[in-house]
């Protein structure tokens, strides 16, 4: 069940020019959250900007009651957020989303992330690792400058493959190409993905073709974050063209079984 809290910002790190890592204290959210959940932050107590910003959870420290998230400054709202100081109280709504990453029934898993979509995959990988799953992680970035969290991800998997589109770091090409390369020999039980839409589409197609369970974390323009406004619609795969059926990222998701949604 989500709650609304004013959580203290206890640590703030700048990972890149426009990417920030925040740690906030919220025992209730840390305790209740699952891998794949997100939070919504109201960056200002005025009405400008108006809506909350949905941000995925990067890491949870359940013992210390700490919720960590990483975000890119994209506009006015995230800029205001980036300027918060350690000690400030941040208006956080969470944990949100009933569709979370499920890993309990799988033994050998592949985790694929692209760009700023890699963040929610950390908590998943960490939990799966603690549950003694075998995990291979594929993270794709634009170039060397964009690579983040390599060490962190290395510690929560058996094998980490970093790729860059231009070959300036790690393997050259998209992360999905290396999943394709490994998929026959590795015999994955499940694939998890978060990242740009073209990547998610490719992962989904691959998983359907190979008949491997696949869970993807989706984004859509969002309002309330709790399932009331019905803004963040995502089309279900089975729905007929003439009468489409929609689920919602904030409620059914953000994590969906890939074959059940049309992206």
């Amino acid at each position: 069940m989500p709650i609304q809290t004013y959580s203290e910002l206890i640590e703030k790190n700048k990972l890149k020019d426009d990417i920030y890592h925040f740690k906030v204290k919220s025992e209730e959210i840390a305790k209740a959250a699952k891998p794949g959940n997100f939070i919504e932050i109201r960056v200002s107590d005025t009405t400008a900007p108006f809506l909350r910003r949905p941000i995925s959870i990067y890491n949870l420290d359940k013992e210390k009651g700490i919720v960590e998230f990483i975000f890119q400054v994209k506009g006015k709202g995230t800029e205001i957020l980036a300027n918060k100081k350690v000690g400030d109280k941040i208006d956080v709504l969470g944990p949100l989303g009933f569709g979370t990453f499920k890993y309990e029934n799988y033994q050998k898993i592949a985790v694929i992330g692209g760009g700023i979509g890699v963040f929610p995959l950390y908590e998943l990988s960490k939990c799966a690792k603690q549950a003694n799953k075998q995990i291979n992680i594929y993270l794709g970035f634009r170039n060397k400058e964009a690579v983040v969290l390599e060490e962190e991800f290395k510690n929560v998997c058996d094998k980490l493959i970093i790729t860059t589109d231009d070959g300036t770091y790690g393997e050259t090409g998209f992360a999905i190409n290396f999943v394709k390369r490994d998929i026959e020999k590795e015999e994955y039980d499940c694939i998890y993905a978060c990242g740009p839409l073209p990547m998610l589409k490719a992962v989904r197609e691959l998983a359907i073709e190979k008949n491997i369970p696949c869970q993807i974390s989706l984004e859509e323009r969002m309002g309330c974050g709790i399932g009331a406004c019905l803004g963040c619609a995502v089309k279900t795969a089975k729905s007929p063209k003439e009468s489409p059926e929609y689920w919602h990222v904030c409620k059914g998701g953000p994590v969906f079984e890939a074959k059940e949604v049309e992206i």
Binding site: M1, P2, I3, Q4, R42, T47, A48, P49, F50, L51, R52, D91, L93, E220, R221, M222, G223, C224, G225, I226, G227, A228, C229, L230, G231, C232, A233, V234, K235, S239, S243, P244, E245, Y246
Partner: protein, 302 residues
């Protein structure tokens, strides 16, 4: 201190309701507070048959507000009656169903069903800007509003509130149409038709191209329209448009609203509606107001 009001025969413990489409059927917000604290709940716009809604993106943020084009996604009146109404009836709050259709016959058929349900009233949606047929098409002329209101009136014994669109030249005449058609009250304003363009893609942000603008950005327009309608029509007003706190609510009541709705304000803070109730009580204390109803329409014009 008495915050009770009577909106066209609907008794409410306070004037704060939640606007259609911003509160679902209440379940999501019941995770945060007891729904009995509200004067009333206006349900998600409900149609005769289930409706899947529009393609995403359906919403986008704008200065102090937002555009939406949800497209009335709802499970249909039958599902509502079986699954959501029993839930809502567990709370001590008025339940008003927002009803929408695409033809006069559909509105009448729907209201016949609503008349048999355990609800406190119907809000007739003649103002949704996001569906192709019906709704706003009926709502933009005196004759259209009077005609559909009178047809619905024939089959509905419960309090009938007609929700008006602000996308008209003369809101007062539209309100008159509702009154002459037999409405017990009017609610206003629905969203203002708007558009937002993604300058990188050179395309509208919303898949539907246009959407309804709501939030504090529209509040002065709403207050003005509530005032105009209160002078022109002799039926009570459920006022809404950008209300996010008790002060906003009082502003609408002074302009002539008997009760108010919180709309987009529910999205920025799940507690906006209950905090508005508190804010109204603070205002009453500050100015020694014993009966809240006494302030309705008491604005003194310059």
């Amino acid at each position: 201190m008495n915050t009770k009001i009577n909106l066209a025969g609907i008794e409410m413990k306070n004037p704060v309701t939640v606007a259609s489409g911003t509160f679902g059927y209440g379940r999501e917000f019941n995770q945060f507070f007891d729904l009995s604290k509200l004067g009333g709940i206006i349900t998600k716009g409900t149609t005769l048959k289930p409706k899947s809604g529009n393609k995403p993106p359906r919403i986008c943020e704008t200065p102090s507000g937002m555009l939406n084009s949800i497209g009335l996604q709802n499970p249909g009146v039958e599902y509502f009656a079986q699954n959501d109404l029993p839930f809502l009836r567990k709370f001590d709050t008025a339940v008003i169903v927002n009803a929408c259709g695409s033809t006069v016959e559909e509105y009448v058929e729907l209201c016949k069903i609503l008349n048999t349900l355990d609800i406190d009233g119907v809000e007739l949606n003649l103002s949704c800007p996001n569906v192709k047929a019906g709704c706003m098409a009926f709502g933009n002329s005196y004759e259209g509003v009077r005609e559909i209101t009178s047809q619905v009136r024939k089959v509905l014994d419960k309090p009938l509130i007609v929700k008006l669109t602000p996308n008209v030249t003369d809101i007062a005449s539209i309100a008159k149409g509702a009154e002459d058609g037999g409405a017990d009250a009017v609610s206003l304003i629905n969203t203002l038709l708007g558009m937002s363009i993604d300058i990188d893609k050179r395309k509208p942000v919303l898949a539907n191209n246009t959407g309804g603008l709501s939030g504090p950005a529209i509040k002065p327009v709403a207050v003005r329209m509530v005032y105009q309608v209160s002078k022109a029509a002799n039926i009570p007003i459920l006022g809404m448009g950008g209300i996010v706190d008790g002060k906003d609510a009082i502003e609408f009541m002074l302009a002539g609203a008997t009760a108010i709705s919180i709309g987009a304000g529910n999205f920025i803070d799940p507690y906006t509606s209950v905090n508005t109730v508190k804010g109204i009580e603070e205002y009453m204390k500050k100015y020694n107001i014993e009966n809240l109803e006494d302030i309705i329409g008491t604005v003194k014009m310059n």
